[in-house]
Homo-oligomer: 194 residues x 2
């Protein structure tokens, strides 16, 4: 869905108003029938010969994946990966609204990265208590990920986007979305081997 | 597979020799039967009551995903995301061997990031011709991804790990592994909505 959205937003900027599923399929290098099935999930109806109205399709996709209103977030760990996320225009465009950034590195605390001041992780409890965000983005080391997740859960965070390699243990009702960057490398490894 | 491997390498470091599928399932918070099915793919046989030999299982998984020998690579785009990949210990441990790093930013060229000198993108042709790596890791902007991919393909690169949001067009025989970071955000969006 984010890939369709990326293409549609670009086309809209270029002044296009309609798109066919075969054009999207061609862009993604996937089967036409897969695109049709994906788009059908959003509930939109296309028009014969004209295809989908791009504005409408953007709205349907956004609604389907819950990207219609800003998703407030805190980001923990302002290393290279954390900085990459803070500077990622797509995330901002999609509604990820990072309201606070924490790190334990005294060289980083007080500095700014992509317009975000880095706060001392020791102040996380007091800061988040005042204004609890929806999502916590975890870009910390594997060894500290569980400890920080426990703290976030105790503060009331229900959604964790975890970039550490550790599998987090969380109580029922808390959702962890794991980002396994090495997964792509594994897929490549299999393809190289074959 | 990378998640199993991460856990197994950690356990081996802690001196453990055997593991059961239920212990792996518990760690990953997934069903025991899923772990069994995944591990069966590698071809290893477990022993009743004893479980899997950790050393052996590591080897089987590595063989299954083609991580038994170093995968040479070039990385294009030494921004925050590129830097995060250069500094990612897991990737190095899994065999990703980044031999060269290119960027077009004159502030970066000639500097070092995580022990890698940044080369001028203008020299990519001459440098890669001498020593063609297996994989090209693309951490460039969406607008320049296709242009650079074309150049890499013309040099003979067959495997591209693409972190840009653009869907690349490549000739048959060239494999693109796309990393859609926004995919995780979409999954989270759906879960928050529901």
């Amino acid at each position: 869905m984010p890939s369709y959205l990326h293409k549609l937003l670009k086309m809209r900027m270029e002044g296009r108003t309609h798109i066919s599923s075969s054009e999207l399929a061609d862009y993604m290098s996937i089967e036409w029938i897969v695109v049709r099935r994906d788009i059908a999930l959003t509930g939109i109806k296309g028009q014969r010969r004209v295809g989908y109205n791009i504005n409408e399709l953007i709205q349907y996709i956004r609604e389907y994946i819950g990207w219609t209103k800003p998703m407030t977030a805190t980001l923990i760990g302002a290393g290279a990966l954390g900085s990459a996320i803070l500077g990622h225009d797509d995330f901002r465009r999609y509604g990820l609204q990072i309201e606070s950034v924490f790190d334990c590195d005294t060289d980083k605390i007080g500095k700014e990265i992509h317009g975000h001041e880095i706060y001392d992780i020791a102040t996380i409890r007091t800061r988040l208590k005042i204004n609890l965000p929806k999502i916590a983005v975890l870009c910390v080391s594997n060894s500290s990920a569980q400890l920080i997740a426990d703290q976030l859960v105790s503060l009331g965070i229900k959604f964790i986007w975890n970039f550490a390699s550790t599998c987090l243990k969380v109580p029922p009702g808390v959702v962890v979305q794991r980002e396994v960057l090495a997964g792509g490398l594994a897929m490549l490894g299999v393809k190289i081997k074959n």
